[in-house]
């Protein structure tokens, strides 16, 4: 499978990563190489095989329904570039 330049631009946009147009052609080649490498897995017949979700036989851990966290507003907000009255503050995002 190979990616074209337009697909690279689209992925970059969806990921909100700025990729200058000059770099897109080159990136398309690199990403295509990665995909081609991984595609070797298609040679294995996996009909009727369940996806492996864990190397060890673990089950999903569950927590009881108890309030054990929160109440740490200052810590939660401590890395925010801008805050006010206990809120995170960001540029206006309105429809």
């Amino acid at each position: 499978m190979s990616l074209d330049k337009a697909t690279v631009a689209k992925i970059a946009h969806l990921a909100r990563i700025k990729v200058p147009e000059a770099d897109q052609e080159h990136l398309a080649g690199e990403l295509s190489n990665i995909l081609n490498f991984v595609e070797q897995l298609n040679e294995v017949d996996t009909v009727g095989v369940q996806p492996m979700t864990s190397v060890a036989p673990h089950k999903l851990r569950r927590r009881p329904d108890a309030v054990t966290d929160g109440g740490v507003r200052d810590a939660v907000l401590s890395n925010a570039p801008e805050t006010a009255e206990g809120f995170f503050v960001v540029p206006k995002v309105v429809e």
Binding site: T53, L60, R61, D65, V67, R73, A75, A84, G86, F87
Partner: protein
């Protein structure tokens, strides 16, 4: 039976499907130990998981899973013992991780159904496609600053059930009935409080129109409609808009729209046009959710009697009409109230008083049954006084008005106000004699064949006795005396 909308160029059929997001009732969030309480100070109920700090891992709340399964069972749906959590990727200021943990290809609950109770007493079954578990996003506040958006993450990570219907509905009334019924089931089950104003239940409306029997039309999705009335209005608006576009030679664009609650129109959300590429993939932080059949069975054993079963029982045991039974079971609290009133009493009389007088009074005061000034026991007491002839049905209405006002038991009001019905034939005799003696001309007219005057005499006697005379006795004695 399919209802059609008449357009300029012929008939149109409407196709409606609904996606309802219902906030799960739990103490803590779906993947963190922060509280779910509504209305707290901003960002005080946020753990590092909810704020998506680097390295934080989600651990699932088992009660949230139980609530989703309970809801699935209440919708008579298939419970999937193996389901998978996926990441739904998109960027928005109130979604700190850049993805929502949801379920895509393998939801925890599969196909089910909801029986709609239509206002005319008929019912109709609508398919439920699926129910899946996901986390809610935070809340963006746009009106606190002219150029900034304020973000509160208290809601971030609260468990949601997304319940998707089949495109089985054909009118906005059916869509409204669907939301009402789903809300009733959720409340009976105790899995969601169904409070649409607070946003704990939100509705996305999918609408398309087509020529009867033709292929499906292109649909639009109107997001976050937050009341049943708005669901109906948004559908009606969207149907008209789509028919106008199509009949004008245009075509419908598949898009996300917004319901404008000030102008009562749907509007295109242009900024979301490109956002539909969610790139779902299994969340590597979470193993598949595997349930034991015995665990599901144990939940099933604790299900309460649900609205449909209760309605059937009310019809069978109390001989109520389908309509009356449907109204009474719409809320668990009103069904319980009715059953307390009806216990050991005439069920039809109990239904009339509960639905007629009481619901009327509550409506007028804008109160729910839980805040009723008249308790079920007291309403029952009033009915007892009617049944044993202590008061007449007419006086009972006055007593009831007083009960609504003061909350006092009926017997006390009757005693205090001396409203006890006069069943003493001597006293009624005297009153009748007085009325007849005062109106000799009318007596003569009556005897001359003007029998309509009977009502006049009854009225006068009731007036004399301040309405307290037993009407049956008055009729009986009056008839006898007028024949003399």
């Amino acid at each position: 039976m399919t209802k059609l909308i008449q357009g300029e160029t012929g008939d149109w059929e409407v196709v409606i499907g609904l996606e309802v997001h219902a906030q799960i009732i739990s103490n803590a969030k779906l993947f963190s130990g922060a509280s779910t309480l509504f209305g707290s100070e901003p960002n005080t109920q946020v753990s590092f998981v909810d704020a998506a700090f680097p390295g934080m891992l989600p651990v699932i709340n088992e009660v949230c899973v139980e609530q989703a399964v309970r809801t699935g069972l209440g919708l008579k749906a298939q419970i999937n013992l193996y389901s998978v959590f996926d990441r739904k990727n998109y960027f928005y200021a109130d979604l700190p991780s850049g993805y929502q943990i949801s379920q895509f290809q393998q939801p925890v609950v599969g196909k089910g159904e909801i029986v709609l109770d239509m206002p005319d007493g008929s019912s109709r079954t609508v398919g439920v496609t699926r129910l899946h578990l996901e986390m809610d996003a935070g809340k963006s506040v746009h009106d606190l600053h002219p150029s900034r958006t304020y973000v509160d993450l208290n809601r971030s990570g609260v468990a949601l059930m997304e319940i998707v219907s089949e495109p089985d509905m054909r009118t906005s009334e059916e869509a409204a009935a669907y939301v009402r019924k789903l809300r009733a089931i959720l409340r009976y089950l105790g899995t969601c409080d169904g409070n649409m104003e607070e946003g704990s239940m939100r509705c996305d409306v999918n609408v398309s129109v087509r020529r009867p029997g033709g292929p499906l039309g292109t649909r639009t999705e109107t997001k976050n409609v937050n009341s049943i009335r708005y669901v109906q209005m948004a559908i009606d608006y969207e149907v008209q808009r789509q028919i106008e576009v199509l009949e004008g030679g245009g075509s419908i664009v598949q898009e996300t729209r917004l319901w404008d609650t000030t102008k009562f129109v749907t509007r295109s959300m242009r900024s979301k046009e490109e956002a539909h590429d969610y790139r779902y993939f299994p969340d590597p932080d979470l193993l598949p959710l595997e349930l034991e059949q015995s665990w599901v069975d144990a939940i099933k054993a604790t299900l309460p009697e649900l609205p449909d079963d209760k309605k059937a029982r009310f019809i069978a045991d109390y001989k109520l009409s389908a309509y009356d039974a449907g109204v009474l079971v719409a809320e668990r609290a009103s069904a319980d109230f009715y059953e307390t009133v009806a216990k050991g009493r005439d069920p039809k009389l109990a239904a009339n008083w509960t639905m007629g007088e009481l619901f009327g009074a509550l409506n007028k005061q804008g109160k729910g049954i839980e805040q009723s000034p008249v308790s079920a026991e007291n309403l029952g007491g009033l009915i007892d006084l009617i049944s044993d002839n202590t008061i007449s049905g007419r006086i009972a209405k006055d007593v009831f008005a007083e009960m609504v006002e003061t909350g006092k038991p009926a017997a006390l009001i009757v005693e205090e106000k001396g409203l006890r019905q006069v069943t003493d034939t001597g006293a009624i005799d005297t009153a009748i004699e007085g009325v007849l003696a005062a109106n000799p001309d009318k007596v003569a007219e009556f005897k001359g064949g003007k029998e309509k005057l009977f009502g006049f005499f009854v009225g006068q006697v009731m007036k004399q006795t301040q309405g307290k005379a037993n009407p049956a006795l008055v009729n009986e004695i009056l008839t006898r005396k007028l024949k003399d």
